[in-house]
């Protein structure tokens, strides 16, 4: 019997791996990948919980919303990355420190 806990644990692992990617990767695309991993972990949670709500179907509905919005975000993010690359000739976020000072 696969319980809710199984999903939650897997989801937590994936989320953490995504978070790690976001924090440590030196490549904007890989950061985006990390974000996607985290969104996926969230989606996994949504569907796992959604299973216990047959009346509203909220879990699956919002999983779909999330997937779609993630896709849109990826599109915009990639566009930004391309622009950044054009300007800075790099996509390493460390080198883009305009926020400082």
């Amino acid at each position: 019997m696969i319980t809710l806990t199984h999903f939650l644990v897997v989801s937590a692992c994936i989320f953490c791996i995504g978070l790690y990617a976001v924090l440590s990767k030196r490549n904007a695309i890989m950061i985006l990948v990390g974000i996607e991993l985290m969104i996926n972990a969230a989606v996994l949670n949504l569907v796992a919980f959604g299973r216990y709500d047959k009346v509203n179907y909220g879990g699956q509905v919002f999983a779909l919303f999330a997937i779609v919005l993630a896709a849109a975000a990826v599109a915009v993010g990639l566009a930004i990355i391309l622009n950044v690359y054009r300007k800075y000739k790099t996509i390493n976020p460390d080198n883009i420190t305009d926020l400082r000072d």
Partner: protein, 668 residues
């Protein structure tokens, strides 16, 4: 004649003193222009005339005359200056004049051509002023002033040839030794002043020279005062052990030696003691007698071995001064003054004769261009053939010195020796040593003066390779004053009776009542002993020095000790001079390194303290402020590092905070 004198002897005596001062001032103003010495000569001649004609004759054997002038007032005590004319002071003044006059005449010839002659006359006049002033001072304070001035003039005259190293050493020594005595004098004055409240001799002793106030003079302080005054006299009269300056003082011109260091200045000590004689108690008098005896004996001994003709005479002077001191010490200060008088004549004559000899020897030296000491006896001999008149005069003076009958010395010396015997017999016991020694000294005196005469005037001239034809008699300008003094060395000036001193005018004039009985037998025995002793001494001397059969080893310890003056100079130099200088060095070291070191150390300490406090200020007080600021800065820096513009870091921090928050919530 006395009735004819309407002029006051006091003002005349002042004139006597002031004339040489006037001469001094005139010559000081004229400077190098006055070389003849006529001014000084006229001044002293006038002084002599006035002193002899108006003062001495007017006062001698007459009641004491004194005048007092207020000098200045300190608080409520008035200090006076005054003139005291009694037998003693007019006698002394007259002696000084009558000795100074021939010396002045003699000097005109003797010092001719010296480049510093103008100073010579100046100094000589200054000396005469001081010495004459000393004689008639009524006040001890005033006397002290002249006393020191005499020393000062002596300083100048000894160092007259100031380019000569020995001369300037000698005058320094003379002044310093005299200074010791002066201090004694000053302390004596201080004691007298604080005891009696006055320094006036008349107030102290009354016009008759007696102790008017009847104050107990056997107190400790009176003894100290007596010793202090005697210390002054010791230095001035060259008494053992302060006599060392006098032989050295012979570096001055011989004419100066004859006046100052034979007849007048050195006699001032005896004069002082005579003036204040009533002040001395038994203890002091005994000390004076003992010191006088030691001086007479030691100097006679030192005189035996000297080769320098002037040094022999110098020691002879010291020895004779010792006699005088004994005279004072035994209470016979009249005899001492008598001996002072006769001694002044014959000793001055001896010096002048020696000066003539030296003069000729120096001429010979200059003529022959040879290097030898013109004062050394070993270079002389047989001079009587070349300088017969000088020889004759010198022989007379020598006889007087030895106390040969018919001379003045015979009278005065017998007076002292016989009185000493009487005194000693009166006291008995160990006191007898003193007259015995005096007799011995008298025989020694005859011997050493005989040695001088024999070595210088008898035998052959010792510097054989020199042309002796240049030796000749001294010029008349020198011989005449010598002749005058030579007359003074004979008995008839002082007493018509050549054999008994009792008839001497001076003794009668001063008339001291002795506390002991006169013993008539002594008046016969002592002169015979002395005369015979002298004759034997001369015979030995003649054998040894004239005949050349000298039996003694010249390197024997006694002779060496005599030649080197008992090594006293070396002893003093080692002990007093060097230790004082060492003390000076030590105290300067102390000053520089201890006292000043302490000052500098405290300065350094304050500086390092301030350095320390500035360190505290910078690092602790300010450090605290800086730490606060630094911490803030550091924290800011830290936060700035966080705010590094890296998105991932921002995110990381955000998550960290979230994590911490969650953990906080969990733990809570």
């Amino acid at each position: 004649m006395r009735d004819l004198l309407t002029i006051s002897p006091v003002s005349m005596s002042i004139l006597v003193v002031l004339l040489p001062l006037l001469a001094f001032v005139i010559q000081a103003i004229l400077g190098k222009k006055s070389t003849s010495g006529m001014i000084s000569l006229i001044a002293i001649a006038a002084s002599t005339l006035i002193s002899g004609g108006f003062v001495f004759t007017a006062v001698w054997d007459n009641p004491t005359i004194s005048t007092t002038y207020n000098w200045f007032t300190i608080g409520d005590k008035t200090f006076t200056i005054g003139i005291l004319l009694n037998n003693l002071s007019v006698l002394m003044q007259f002696i000084v004049c009558i000795i100074a006059l021939p010396v002045h005449i003699y000097s005109r010839s003797y010092m001719k051509g010296d480049p510093g002659i103008h100073r010579y006359w100046m100094y000589l006049s200054l000396f005469c002023f001081a010495m004459l002033g000393l004689t008639i001072s009524k006040n001890l304070f005033m006397m002290y002033i002249f006393w020191e001035l005499v020393g000062f003039a002596s300083y100048l005259l000894i160092g007259f040839w100031f380019t000569k190293e020995a001369a300037v050493q000698a005058n320094k020594k003379a002044f310093l030794v005299n200074r010791i005595g002066d201090l004694g004098f000053l302390i004596g004055i201080a004691i007298i002043f604080s005891t009696f409240g006055t320094l006036d001799l008349v107030d102290l002793f009354g016009t008759d020279g007696f102790f008017a106030q009847g104050i107990d003079k056997n107190t400790t302080w009176m003894t100290v005062a007596g010793i202090a005054f005697f210390l002054g006299a010791m230095a001035k009269s060259a008494q053992f052990p302060l006599h060392v300056w006098l032989p050295d003082a012979m570096e001055g011109p011989t004419s100066v030696s004859s006046l100052i260091h034979a007849a007048t200045m050195v006699a001032a000590g005896v004069f002082l003691l005579s003036s204040i004689f009533p002040l001395f108690n038994e203890t002091v008098l005994l000390i004076i007698a003992i010191i006088g005896t030691i001086t007479a004996l030691s100097s006679a001994f030192f005189a035996l071995g000297q080769y320098d003709i002037k040094k022999i005479l110098a020691f002879s002077t010291i020895s004779q001064l010792g006699y005088m001191m004994v005279g004072v010490g035994i209470g016979a200060w009249d005899a001492a003054m008598f001996h002072l008088t006769t001694h002044a004549f014959f000793k001055c004559l001896l010096f002048l004769c020696a000066g003539a000899v030296i003069h000729e020897m120096a001429h010979l030296k200059a003529h022959e261009n040879q290097e030898f000491d013109p004062q050394d006896l070993r270079n002389m001999g047989g001079l009587r053939r070349y300088m017969p008149k000088t020889f004759t005069l010198m022989a007379i003076a020598s006889l007087a010195l030895a106390g040969f009958p018919l001379t003045s010395g015979y009278l005065s010396k017998d007076a002292i020796v016989i009185t000493a015997w009487e005194w000693a017999l009166h006291h008995g016991g160990l006191y007898l040593i003193i007259p015995v020694l005096l007799v011995v000294v008298s025989i020694l005196t005859a011997f050493y003066i005989g040695r001088l005469i024999f070595k210088a005037f008898f035998g052959e001239f010792r510097l054989k390779d020199l042309n002796v034809t240049h030796l000749h008699e001294a010029p008349h300008a020198m011989l005449i004053p010598m002749l005058l003094l030579g007359i003074g060395a004979l008995f008839f000036i002082f007493s018509w009776n050549p054999l008994s001193y009792a008839d001497a005018g001076i003794l009668q004039g001063l008339s001291v009542a002795y506390p002991f009985a006169e013993i008539h037998a002594l008046h016969v025995i002592i002169p015979i002993i002395l005369t015979c002793g002298s004759l034997i001494a001369w015979w030995i001397g003649w054998r040894w020095y004239s005949k050349g059969s000298y039996p003694l080893n010249p390197h024997s310890r006694w002779i060496q000790a005599s030649l080197n003056q008992g090594y006293l100079n070396e002893l003093y130099h080692k002990t007093f001079v060097e230790s004082t200088l060492a003390l000076a060095q030590i105290s300067y070291w102390f000053d520089r390194y201890v006292i000043d070191g302490l000052v500098n150390f405290s300065a350094t300490a304050v500086r390092s303290l301030s350095t320390f406090s500035s360190w505290i200020d910078r690092y602790i007080v300010d450090g605290f402020v800086n730490t606060v600021a630094g911490t803030t800065y550091y924290i800011g820096h830290l936060l700035r590092w966080i705010q590094n513009g890296r998105l991932q870091n921002y995110l990381g921090f955000a998550f960290t905070v979230v994590l911490i928050g969650i953990i906080y919530l969990i733990i809570r």
